[in-house]
Symmetry: C2
DNA sequence: ATAGCTGCAAATGCTTTGCAAGGCC
DNA sequence: GGCCTTGCAAAGCATTTGCAGCTAT
């Protein structure tokens, strides 16, 4: 098994795209840059689309969705579902959990080793555990 | 603080509605009956609407949504978000967690004392922990 | 050249809303 | 009767899709 390197830079993302066989097109590269060049992020498609426009990159919202899903399938992103009707994409694909600030609809990472989930029940026969999501729903305003 | 009684029967639901000041209308009572008279359930609005129709109760989907949200606000239901674009409503409002079978889009309760989440980080200043959701995402078919 | 992408706009799926008509107290 | 509810249809969002035109290799 090849070690999974988390792309932190444009160069790594490009390399990653090539290796996997996704054409490094202008829009994919631009999106990868926005996503992976500024540490861990949680973005919605809409947000990323706005960022792209602000950065003078012409990308349609449909392409943003396509790219986010492609990146997710390739393991570059992780989709986090906390609200009905909106998906967040997390650039941190390592094992970890989330705070969700309900009043401001924002996510924050919690290091995987900071929360311990024990005494997990065994999945029913015929099924396999794919992922454990822990969401700490928080209220009140962040200062 | 008045003890919270989980409505398990039509009568209890009716009583509960009255006590809270929601008029026990035909449709609310019918929905309460469907929801609370058969043990713990996880339903979507669409499902409940179909059940109501099958039971020859005329209810519009809009009213199903309204009722589900009202019941949720009153603490009779708990909303569970596991998939983008669809909400599940859980008649079990006690402290517990969930298996989510991704291939069949179904939820299953895990008793609260069966999973232990320890070493929870403290919420950031100015915020309060409202709820802890643990979702065990499972793949493969149930037998 | 050509297989794969992109953009646009239309379609979809879930959910919410506006408002007239209806029903509980 | 009065006020809360309902129902319907229309509106609202986030997301997906179909397809003609573009582009990286």
């Amino acid at each position: 098994m090849e070690p999974v390197i988390r792309p932190r830079t444009y160069a790594q993302a490009l390399e990653r795209l090539r290796r996997i066989g996704l054409r490094p097109t202008r829009q994919r590269l631009a999106l990868a840059k926005l996503l992976f060049e500024q540490g861990d992020r949680h973005v919605t498609a809409e947000q990323l689309h706005e960022e792209a426009e602000a950065a003078k990159v012409r990308v349609s919202l449909a392409t943003v969705y396509n790219s986010l899903h492609q990146f997710t399938q390739l393991g570059l992103l992780r989709e986090v579902v906390v609200e009905p009707g909106r998906s967040y994409f997390d650039t941190n694909t390592s094992d970890h959990h989330h705070f969700f600030f309900e009043d401001e609809a924002k996510l924050m990472d919690i290091p995987g080793d900071r929360v311990e989930v024990t005494r997990l029940p065994t999945p029913p026969a015929g099924t396999t555990l794919r992922r454990v999501d822990v969401i700490l729903r928080v209220g009140g305003r962040l200062k």
